[in-house]
């Protein structure tokens, strides 16, 4: 058994509030929890019942992931209480439970890039995968999808079951200003395959190339189709 899996156990998040008090996150983040009580009761239930799978902080932005979805929310301090800066819905649902986001923090420009993938449809000779990239501008507290594209793989031999997709991993090359987004796509026998996209970052994102390694089949073509293409928030402001 994998040692990492073997060692997993449930925990509880505790937080130090701005006033110095140490509280369970359910209390320290009660205002955030309350916000999602009306937006999505299931997600709210998971927040207050210690069903958080993953969390992270980027300056004053909190990331929380549960089984049903995830949020990136900017917090502010109000009379020693942490509250979400706005009440808009920042929840991304995971309807098929097959999507887990990956993110990369651009510390210089205080931006978070979030990437997500899912299978849109599949046939015996093709599969279409959607990849979304969102940008969170920490300074402006703006969070939106900036780029979304479909990758369609056309096989020359038959796939008999729905491919299994695994979460994306994102990385950024400072030298070439390119993102790489890679994920595993499994075939009939749950065998390893790898899809890799490189996106060039300018004022918006542009697909530079898409590559794949699918030893379980022969890929005839990769088609890509851009669905959302918005200008990124400007870098290098103070």
């Amino acid at each position: 058994m994998n040692k990492l899996i073997e060692n997993q156990s449930s925990g509880e998040i505790w937080m130090r509030t701005p006033s110095g008090k140490i509280l369970p996150s359910t209390d320290a983040l009660s205002a955030l929890n309350l916000k999602y009580s009306t937006i999505n009761p299931d997600f709210h239930f998971e927040l207050i019942n210690n069903e958080i799978k993953r969390f992270d902080f980027f300056y004053d932005v909190i990331f929380i992931e549960t089984a049903s979805g995830y949020i990136f929310d900017k917090l502010s301090k109000n009379e020693n209480v942490l509250i979400p800066e706005n009440n808009d819905n920042r929840l991304t649902l995971k309807p098929n439970m097959e999507s887990n986001p990956d993110y990369w923090l651009d510390e210089v420009n205080k931006k978070i890039y979030v990437v997500d993938n899912e299978i849109k449809y599949w046939t015996s000779v093709s599969v279409k995968i959607n990849v979304k990239i969102k940008q969170f501008d920490i300074t402006k507290n703006l969070y939106s999808t900036k780029f979304s594209y479909d990758i369609e793989l056309i096989y020359s031999n038959t796939i008999t079951k729905k491919p299994t997709i695994e979460p994306c991993k994102i990385s950024y090359n400072l030298d070439t200003r390119c993102f790489n987004i890679s994920f595993i796509l499994r075939g009939n026998d749950e065998e390893f395959g790898l899809i890799s996209s490189t996106l060039k970052k300018n004022q918006n994102l542009v697909i530079n190339n898409i590559n794949c390694l699918l030893p379980y089949t022969t890929v005839q073509k990769i088609n890509s189709n851009v669905l959302v293409d918005k200008l990124l928030e400007t870098d290098f402001y103070s």
Partner: protein, 222 residues
């Protein structure tokens, strides 16, 4: 570094066969069960990139023309090891191997030729080497957009770092045509072969002939 191992017996029935194995493969050729009519004085193992020779290392006489495998100097008592790596971008590669068996009193050697079809191992899934492999981490770096992939395997548990450069593929935007190269493996299915470039043929081959020649207990063995 993962290395598959296989021992095959060198016999005349091996001639003109082709056998599939996973790569990288350390092949051990065992000639001990080789049956020929005369005494063997030399076996040449011919690979694509080198020839290894195992010769008789005791004094031979013209009268000794019968096989005598219990003698320590008989070339059949010594195995030959060779490690093969897939050197192309394909997921399989065929290697030719031949053994020339020289016998006393026989002009032409007996040739035993066979082929090895070496296949990149299946990483995981049904029949895979690992139970599963997960992508843990990526990092893209350098002007050529090299990508470091770090995989974690389960049973056996490894962290497998692999550097891949996808840039060699033709890019026809927005369609990338992969018809001719879709199955190429880079090094991703060959994480075990990362040392190829550094030391492709690091074979621990002991020269028994030289050992015995220098052995003071056998002063006449030349």
């Amino acid at each position: 570094m993962l290395n598959f191992e296989k021992t095959i017996n060198l016999t005349t029935s091996l001639h003109n066969t082709i056998t599939s194995f996973y790569a990288p493969l350390t092949l051990t050729i065992n000639p001990s069960s080789l049956i020929v009519s005369k005494k063997i004085y030399k076996i040449e193992y011919i690979f694509d990139d080198e020839i290894k020779t195992q010769t008789l290392f005791y004094k031979k006489t013209t009268t000794e023309t019968l096989p005598f495998s219990s003698e320590i100097g008989d070339p059949r008592n010594y195995k030959c090891n060779k490690t093969f790596y897939i050197t192309s971008t394909a997921t399989s590669q065929i290697f030719g191997v031949s053994a020339n068996v020289y016998q006393l009193g026989v002009t032409n050697p007996t040739k035993i030729e066979f082929k090895l079809n070496l296949i990149s191992p299946k990483m995981d899934g049904t029949g895979g080497f690992f139970d599963s492999v997960q992508l843990l981490y990526t990092r893209m770096f350098g002007v050529n957009n090299d990508i470091l992939y770090v995989f974690e395997s389960v049973n056996p548990n490894y962290y497998i770092p692999v550097v891949v450069n996808w840039n060699n593929k033709p890019v026809i935007e927005p369609i990338v045509d992969l018809s001719s190269k879709s199955r190429r493996a880079y090094n991703i299915l060959k994480p075990f072969q990362n040392q190829n470039v550094e030391n492709p043929y690091n074979i621990d081959f002991v020269d028994k002939q030289k050992e015995v020649e220098n052995d003071p207990n056998y002063p006449d063995c030349k």
